[in-house]
């Protein structure tokens, strides 16, 4: 008589690699005792001291996004090769690992989310911090009203030369970095006016109220998105910058790189 174990055990039949998403230390240790299997930890920080580790910059609420990120990261680090069968153990409903899915590395189309964090001009922490700020701004808005914002990260020198000021730059001769505690409040205030925030590779806020003059010619972004997204698409195509946009109308946070939409997050899910 078949049991549940037989039925569901097929999922992990013949996998060579297990991706553990944010495992507890004891779970990781138990996994290491399993023979013929290599474990890769995908987590916000390497608290378990894993040898093979992929940093997860965001706790993706969407499971497939999270798994895709882990697999792309493991591929990029050279832990697995294309065509390898991997099992992914993740947390879905609970605070412990409660779901397993199986995937073949390389079969998933490259979403470029891993690339967005690791191979951009800006530091990965800076991009993560900006996304955090944008998500928080999207959740709370400006005095309850939805607010839009555009952040351009990295390649700041070139971005500054491809834009012009709309007003006096409040960040002139200041040394404010994204991730500083005060920044969320400041950015919230300054997002009331139009224009983009320009942030350097290392996270220094170079300017606010910039009008981006990059040419939008040939930029292909989904229909229905406004001028802010068009500006983000065009500036990332003309420079090596990454852009993070908080939409005023649908309240989603989107990241652009190379003129293309890479990542879409719903602030309400975080």
């Amino acid at each position: 008589m078949p049991t549940v174990r037989d039925l569901l055990g097929e999922i992990v039949d013949g996998v060579e690699t297990v991706l553990l998403f944010s495992p507890s230390a004891s779970y990781y240790e138990r996994c290491q005792e399993v023979e013929d299997i290599s474990t890769i930890v995908v987590a916000p920080d390497n608290g378990v001291g894993a040898e093979r580790y992929v940093e997860l910059p965001l706790e993706f609420a969407d499971l497939s996004e999270r798994i895709r990120f882990g697999i792309e990261g493991a591929l990029d680090e050279g832990y697995i090769e294309e065509g390898n069968e991997v099992a992914c153990a993740t947390k879905l409903f609970d605070d412990v690992i409660d779901s397993v899915s199986r995937a073949r590395a390389g079969d998933l189309d490259q979403s470029g989310v891993y690339d967005l964090f690791t191979n951009s001009r800006g530091d990965p922490e800076v991009i993560r911090d900006v996304l955090d700020v944008a998500v928080e701004l999207g959740q709370k808005g400006q005095k309850g009203k939805p607010v839009g914002a555009l952040f351009v990260i990295g390649d700041a020198g070139k971005v500054m030369n491809k834009s012009r000021p709309l007003s006096y730059n409040p960040f002139e001769k200041s040394h404010v970095h994204v991730g500083d505690p005060i920044v969320n409040v400041m950015l919230k205030e300054f997002s009331r006016l139009d224009g983009a925030f320009v942030i350097s590779d290392a996270g220094k806020i170079v300017s606010a109220y910039r009008y981006l003059e990059a040419s939008a010619e040939g930029v292909d972004i989904p229909k229905g998105l406004g001028t802010r997204h068009m500006a983000a698409g065009s500036v990332t195509r003309d420079t090596n910058a990454t852009a993070v946009v908080l939409s005023e109308s649908d309240r989603l946070v989107r990241a652009f790189k190379g003129g293309e939409l890479i990542l879409e997050l719903d602030p309400e899910e975080y």
Partner: protein
Amino acid sequence: MALPAQSFGGDLLASNLDLVLLAVILVVGTLVAYLVARSMNRLLVAAGVADVVEGTASERAARRLGTSTVAVLSWLLGLFVFVLAAVIALGVAALFDIQSYLIDFIDFLPDLFIATLIVIVGLILADRAELRVAERLSGYKFTSTGALGVVPGLVKYGVIYIAALIALGQIGLADGALIVLLAAFVFGVVFLGGLAGKDLLAAGAAGTYLLLNQPYAIGDEVRVDDMHGVVQEVDMFVTHVESDGEEFIIPNHRVFRAGVVRVR
């Protein structure tokens, strides 16, 4: 004239007065020591000492023995109070004829206590410092931590060394030679460190000015020596200047020495 019974009782009391007093002082001393230890324990917990020592080697050692650093510290204080009481009791009872020694010892007791305390605090601080440095270093990915692996240990034993010096000084033992050794070590670190890091120091000094006054900002087109491009980043030590296909990372003291041309 006193009654015989009374005088008998008085005699008994008088002959045993020393013993009674001894017992009373010992009991009171024990009680006070216990109370001091208890309140010290609470004080240390309230001051957050338990959190500070969390994870250090000494705390782990204490845990293995079924106690904690806070408990050890407070019981140590209690012990000293008790020893003090015992010594006073012995002096009152005059069981030994060592009055002058005793006074010296009582004078010496606080010093001894402070010295012990310094050694314990020194050990904890050393563990803590080692942990911190090791954590800091683990942030960088080294394939082998060979040379840098000894740095946390060096920090730890440096702190212990200084604590031992202070403790020795406290109880008045000869520590002249150790102080000379420390001076030589500090001189070595400062002098050689200055020699090795003079470029970094110069760049940092120039970088402070550049950051405060911002003679050029990110996005400006500049020329330093024959390096020409757009400023991408200015930090404490270096300036990143990028031109087509090339990124110059210029030490700030070089910017200062050569001067910078802003291209308009």
